[in-house]
Symmetry: none
Subunit: 251 residues, 2 copies
């Protein structure tokens, strides 16, 4: 029972996608019985769906008859990443050049935050961000910047569904407090994050408005380097680049 069947959708397609996501969540490989147990579907049904996915290389069968994600997903993932914002990398590199800290571009994917563009800082100590990684939005500056663009009810819905895990001491875990926090983000037009995702890491984010899909531009670095002075210097730079990105990603 991974996903609810939506009205107007195609059942078997939904089930096939469930299988892909199930395998992904289970660390990359799964036996047929495990899928059957996890999804609540009988073995023959699972088997037929898996067979279809294997025929098309979306899954592959390992020598021990277990199943793993297939290679056809790789080019699709790359293409999707491109379509989102890899054309942004030169702009992100620009931010890094001018501020010296890692820059990221993130989008809301359903209820989670996904990183779609990234430029690492040249410094040895820097944030490591995996493109395509899905993370909880409540403990990231970029997540706040994006959620601040939704109305409170929508935000509450998201927080309800995915929860607010306490990642560090500073993580906001109370929905009411978070919503209040978002109000300040809306006022300032900038989202801050002080060690809510990782101790000693400070992030700054602002929304890229006007683009195709709602994106947020963020920078992150260790507290020692993310001084108030740097933050003040960063905001106009980020605003400028966010504007350029909005134009660039609109077409």
């Amino acid at each position: 029972m991974t996903q609810q069947t939506r009205p107007g959708g195609v059942q078997s397609v939904g089930r096939a996608l469930d299988i892909l996501e199930l395998i992904d969540q289970s660390g990359g490989e799964m036996a047929l019985v495990e899928m059957s147990a996890a999804s609540g579907l009988p073995m023959p049904t699972i088997h037929r769906l898996v067979r279809t996915l294997v025929d098309r290389n979306y899954l592959r069968q390992l020598p021990d008859r277990r199943y793993a994600l297939g290679s056809r997903l790789i080019p699709l993932g790359n293409a999707a990443l491109d379509a989102f914002g890899s054309r942004s990398s030169s702009k992100l590199a620009d931010v890094v050049r001018r501020l010296g800290e890692s820059a990221n571009l993130a989008a809301l994917d359903g209820d989670m935050l996904v990183y779609v563009g990234q430029a690492p800082s040249p410094r040895a100590m820097r944030m490591f961000t995996q493109l395509g990684q899905h993370v909880h939005p409540h403990c990231r500056a970029a997540g706040k910047a994006l959620l601040a663009q939704l109305d409170d009810d929508a935000v509450r819905g998201i927080l309800d569904r995915v929860g607010m895990p306490k990642v560090t001491e500073a993580t906001i875990t109370d929905p009411d407090e978070f919503i209040e926090h978002l109000a300040r983000v809306r006022e300032e037009g900038v989202a801050h994050e002080y060690g809510e995702m990782e101790d000693g890491v400070i992030c700054l984010a602002l929304p890229v408005v006007g683009g195709v899909s709602r994106l947020a531009l963020s920078i992150s670095g260790p507290a020692a380097r993310m001084t108030d002075a740097l933050q003040e210097r960063a905001i106009p730079v980020m605003r400028e680049v966010a504007g350029e990105l909005a134009v660039q990603l609109a077409g």
Copy 2:
């Protein structure tokens, strides 16, 4: 009419995958009518499938009502890449540092060769390899290294099914000649490729034995730089790294 319906497969799932691939091939976005035309399926059918994919974030609808690949594909693509062997990149970078030429890691995916890891040469003129790209194995050093591990009948089956397109003047297009060629690869333990994929490009590959899935490590560069001296120097380095990779990817 993108793909033939296989026996035992689920029709609607196949059609959904067709749509994803269609959009990928069409440069990332498509209107419903275009999909309908390209697939030969009526609009309502396409619409229902697309709807299912949009609900699940495998597609997203742009403001102009066209459709593009969705963000849910990104983590799946990453996971698939990982499952294949992208944890290899530091080792590949090592090869590049020591030899100065681009290094790749490739696997057989069904009958085709797929690149699962890559480290580009620092030189301006270098091979451009797209991760996840599927190519014919007969005109790549890595493909030869992998096919050399199969028996001749299996190789003949693959060549039959995917064909041996003549990519350059040097491409081997005769199955018998190719099989004979593989015998030499087995003797030497190294696969060579002299401009069979692109004029003036020389590649060298050897198998990574012992890993989970059969992989091949290759380097490639322009003929002017891939001198006999470099090749001789390269082979022990590659053998060493291939050994390390085998250990690393076994767990």
